[in-house]
Symmetry: C2
Subunit: 338 residues, 2 copies
């Protein structure tokens, strides 16, 4: 009834448990009991977030290498912690696995998980493994932030400037290339690889996020998962303000023009509606720009890109040449069979 | 491409968010930002656990009413918090939903979630909703326990007595009846309904669990999800001891004998290998029995059942008449298509 079996739950649980060892700040008990136990960290508050990734909806195993998918499973959650200005501590991972999946695939996927945990000092403290006809991954990340320093979405104020932390639309362009490699063969190989990497292996901006949070100069912040048009709309709606952005100011990675042209899409669509860039969009309090930019420079981070400002009213308004249109919530939607 | 659509992600997110309101101890920010934010509770440590439930593996929608499945999705996680001696505070729920699923089904399922959250003072603080070909639910529960009072699995000591908090095998018997109702028609309707309820709608033992934890009289504790043979084996292995249990002392609900006979199974198999009872198995420190039993009685809880003792050696030994066999890890396994 089970089809060919390449792995056992107990074996995988043992693997996960055995790699999740060593002490960790605040951790009392990790994997191996009914619950994990962790305790207060002085002067800090806890953050928690979760993301569910389903095969064929959120990723495509035909072109997504397992190790990079493991890294990305963690990165999308770490990105949410970054967007609050936090640092990461603990993770819980639930996995539904088809019996037919190769053990080698799982091992490589888990290697990617381990990479990210090690890179950011995060400890796996729990999870669940089950059989299921469709590969499904749920990750929970638990982080912390200095007391009262969490950067929310509902705290943008009129007059603040709006920034993004990197080029927009790169992941969407990379996804196009992964899906239809032939169509983009005329683009330089190095440029194609770089764009694909934005989709396959995004880096969470934890260092920049905690610098922005600690600075006290940031009004509101969010990570870019569904595209600027949607993510900035959340900030605008929740803060009760409008946002005006300048199409000319939107940063683009090398090759975005060519991908847009070959895909028959306006470049700006990729930039405002393309999902999964996992950059940060944030507002800077009035008169804070200069101090913040020099702080970012001193730490060797950035560049960050000023793309607009918070205004009275509502909606996300895109100015392009002399035209202006409301692009609120016109972001990316994960859809099965897209 | 999507098949008929009965619901939208945004609509469901709104529903979840709108029902998750009001203040909650320690909660700074609930649903609606990149992360939820919560803060220290004086003198307490945090607990966290997660369970992944997959359609056709962990439940069967053909006989599991959606509201009860919602309740059970929470109960199995709350049971893990109970097994540490904790109380519950927060939950995160991730949901993969086939586009074809009826909105009415989801609403009833969520009503069951809401029941359990309200009953135990737990707040939904996050989650994720995605499309997926197979209904999949991942729940995370976050609880707390008085500092240093978490009851672990690795702390059973030789000479301690072993107890369970309710009849064993009831849920397994109930599952048999749900699957093959015709076979058990000769059993009294009330008895059948009661057994079915043990499978469909288990109650987490949060009150008893925290009483046991607070008492300081309990050595080790775990909840019964995979059957006594497996769950007690975890305690034995992790504590480096053996466990001896007496088949005659294992409690059984009304009707278990008849189900066992009609199903052609030894009754004791249902009791030691039947999964999902979500009772507690715990050890009581030497000379603590009397005090603990009167404490339980005073609070109007119980009864609890003494089933054996912790011994030197290893394994879970079942004594039946004059025979003795090692039943370690012979518990229930969730298997697709079972």
């Amino acid at each position: 009834m089970m089809g060919e079996m390449h792995w056992s739950e107990l074996e995988l649980i043992r693997l996960f448990r055995d790699t999740a060892n060593g002490p960790s700040p605040g951790l009392v008990k990790g994997i191996g009991d009914d619950c994990a136990v962790f305790e207060n960290l002085d002067g800090r508050q806890w953050l928690t977030t979760t993301d569910l990734l389903v095969d064929q909806v959120h990723f495509d195993r035909s072109f997504h290498p397992p190790r990079l998918l493991g890294r990305k499973s963690m990165a999308v959650n770490f990105s949410d912690i970054a967007a609050m200005g936090g640092r990461v501590h603990f993770a819980l991972i639930s996995l539904a696995l088809p019996a037919s999946i190769e053990k080698e695939w799982i091992m490589q996927w888990y290697e990617g998980i381990g990479d990210m945990l090690a890179a950011w000092g995060c400890r796996l403290i729990g999870g669940d493994i089950a059989r299921g006809a469709l590969l499904t991954v749920n990750v929970v990340a638990i982080g912390s932030v200095a007391h009262g320093r969490a950067v929310m979405r509902d705290t943008a104020r009129i007059g603040e400037t709006i920034y993004v932390s990197g080029p927009l639309g790169s992941a969407a362009a990379g996804l196009e290339i992964c899906r239809n490699p032939d169509r983009f063969e005329t683009i330089d190989q190095r440029v194609r690889d770089s764009l694909r990497r934005h989709h396959l292996d995004p880096e969470p901006e934890l260092e920049l996020g905690s610098l922005l949070g600690d600075s006290g100069l940031v009004g509101a912040m969010q990570d870019l998962s569904d595209g600027l048009a949607t993510d900035l709309a959340h900030i605008a709606v929740q803060s009760g303000v409008g946002a005006e952005i300048d199409a000319q100011a939107l940063p683009a990675a090398e090759g975005l023009d060519e991908v847009a042209e070959l895909a028959g899409l306006p470049k700006v669509s990729l930039q405002v509606s393309g999902g999964e860039d996992y950059r940060l969009v944030f507002t800077v309090k009035e008169h804070g720009d200069e101090r913040l930019l020099s702080l970012i420079g001193e730490r060797g981070m950035g560049p960050v890109y000023r793309i607009g400002k918070i205004i009275a009213g509502s909606g996300v308004l895109l100015r392009k040449d002399s035209a202006c249109s409301d692009i609120s919530f016109q972001g990316y939607q994960h859809t099965a069979g897209r």
